[in-house]
Symmetry: C2
Subunit: 334 residues, 2 copies
């Protein structure tokens, strides 16, 4: 198996990207191709002991930044590391692509220029794996499609189910549909129509769920439109940061809190690890003709390494072929 890693993806590129790729090649015994500015990547590689590792570098003279417009960068930077890396997967020279770069750009380059959607898939979905208290939940869509149709949500449901089963090893994944509390509204027309489709779709659909059910592990897959999903995931991130900052501040407040703070530090690290996005890996793009995993821009070496492992698991689980089997025999809707 060969995994392509975008050397120019993370905010601190190419350092964590290269270090994570090297660590993954060693730890998982994988062939890894680093794509990026050849000179910079090789300079960075020289900092590592790489003897015996199946590492290669493919030159890509351009790279995508967080400021690049997703809809344009496929045309304005056709030799970006993302573009070249995904081409390697498209052409069968590699099995998966990992990047900690601009998510919107990766989605556009994949969908419009390189890997393209699997036949019959209406829209690719950006998924996120949230793991709290040991329960891994596949959330999708978390931002690729702000406005969705019911059929798209239903596809997200079975694509997420395939991912949970084949990449995460979850038997008969329970699929829930994010809805607002029944005590106030009754779900949007979109949610109602999607629920009807999911009932008939052959997945293990357990019905509508609220955020607390997602966080308590009552589902293995949570389906949502990309707007609500983006709000959900960003609220988790923002509130986690806010709470940990508050706790840190309050533990500096007086001698008693300071002393206690020293003592509880290991307990806190354990809590933090259980909710820290870095531990979970990257966001898979589902519905494309190839495995693509997008990491956080602020990914460190560990996060990149984990994203490579995630890509390996998706390749071993034959996610792409399995989605192909389930996709309806229709041409892609535009």
């Amino acid at each position: 198996m060969k995994i392509v890693v975008d050397a120019m993806g993370s905010d601190a590129q190419p350092r964590p990207d290269v270090a994570g790729a090297v660590a993954a090649a060693r730890e998982y015994d994988l062939a890894v191709t680093l794509v990026g500015d050849q000179a910079r990547v090789e300079e960075e590689l020289a900092q590592h002991a790489t003897g015996g590792l199946a590492l290669e570098v493919v030159n890509a003279p351009e790279w995508v930044t967080m400021d690049d417009k997703p809809g344009q960068v496929g045309r304005t930077k056709p030799q970006s590391s993302m573009h070249v890396g995904m081409q390697l997967v498209r052409d069968g020279a590699a099995d998966a692509f990992v990047s900690a770069g601009n998510t919107g750009a990766a989605l556009a380059i994949a969908t419009l220029h390189t890997l393209k959607r699997i036949r019959g898939i209406y829209r690719p979905a950006l998924a996120s794996i949230v793991s709290i208290q040991g329960n891994a939940v596949v959330l999708l869509d978390i931002g690729a499609n702000a406005e969705c149709k019911p059929e798209w949500l239903a596809q997200f449901g079975w694509m997420g189910s395939i991912y949970a089963e084949r990449a995460l090893g979850c038997a008969s994944p329970r699929v829930g549909l994010l809805s607002n509390g029944e005590e106030v509204g009754k779900g949007t027309t979109l949610v109602q129509a999607a629920a009807e489709l999911l009932e008939k779709d052959g997945v293990n659909f357990i019905g509508n769920v609220e955020p607390k059910e997602i966080l308590s592990g009552a589902v293995d897959v949570a389906v949502m439109d990309g707007f609500a999903g983006n709000v959900f995931i960003k609220t988790l991130e923002a509130f986690g940061t806010t709470l940990f900052d508050l706790i840190r501040q309050e533990l500096q407040n007086d001698w008693r809190s300071k002393l206690g703070g020293l003592l509880v530090r290991p307990a806190f690290r354990r809590v933090y690890r259980q909710v820290d996005p870095f531990e979970i890996g990257g966001a898979p793009l589902l519905g494309l003709n190839g495995v693509v995993i997008i990491g956080h821009g602020r990914s460190n070496t560990l996060a990149i390494k984990n994203a490579v492992r995630q890509a390996r698991d998706a390749v071993q689980g034959q996610i792409v072929d399995t989605i192909r089997q389930y996709a309806p025999d229709v041409s892609n809707e535009e």
Copy 2:
């Protein structure tokens, strides 16, 4: 000023409802009317020293439960404490209504049966006041309207702005519109159209915001449709609970954590207080011909008392009259 408190609202009714009403009458020097099953309310009142307080009881033989269907309960239980209480406000016998009961039922009874919408208001909004690190932010809509039109969101913007200014004392409230990250999608068509309207609407509109800006206090009012708002607020609640549970567990893990846990307890209480919904009060319903504040079902005495204070502040700030002044001179859209 006279505030009506639903004695039969909270999960543990009538105990916290009556206790909170008594505490509010004493602390804020208000006239308070308790509406509910007369015998039960008077029995509960007898537990308190009420000498010198302006308290009265109005009998309402029925009450709404969390299982009652919001759309039907106005007809099936026309003598519920919610119904009777809102009628008192509608008829000018009181200035505001406070309940910790079924939010959807309160909305339906207010909109369809008693207070009705202010002329020119498309839809009433359910607002929530979130206060983190000392910044109070008015969020609306958090669940009254799962599907919205751009004009409704624009009205939520200026209704929220009026509330922030006149009930919370915030000068020139900064209004933001919840959107998904620009790095992936570009906001829904709804968000785009609402942003255009808010630009022209005379409020201090600072543009689109993400959850982290809401939590960091970059806005005083955050506008959103009721589906996204419900997801946002419930994600905060669920993640807060999850994190505090995790911390509690980990602090029981070994002697070092246990000892540290004892020492950091006061610091933790301060953190908890800063993010605890009870401290913030209830959810105002905006756009009705009367002040209505809905508390959490699990409200305790303090929460009820705070909700009464919030109702008083809204009455003193002349929220209803001010919204009336700004409402367009059109009949209500159905």
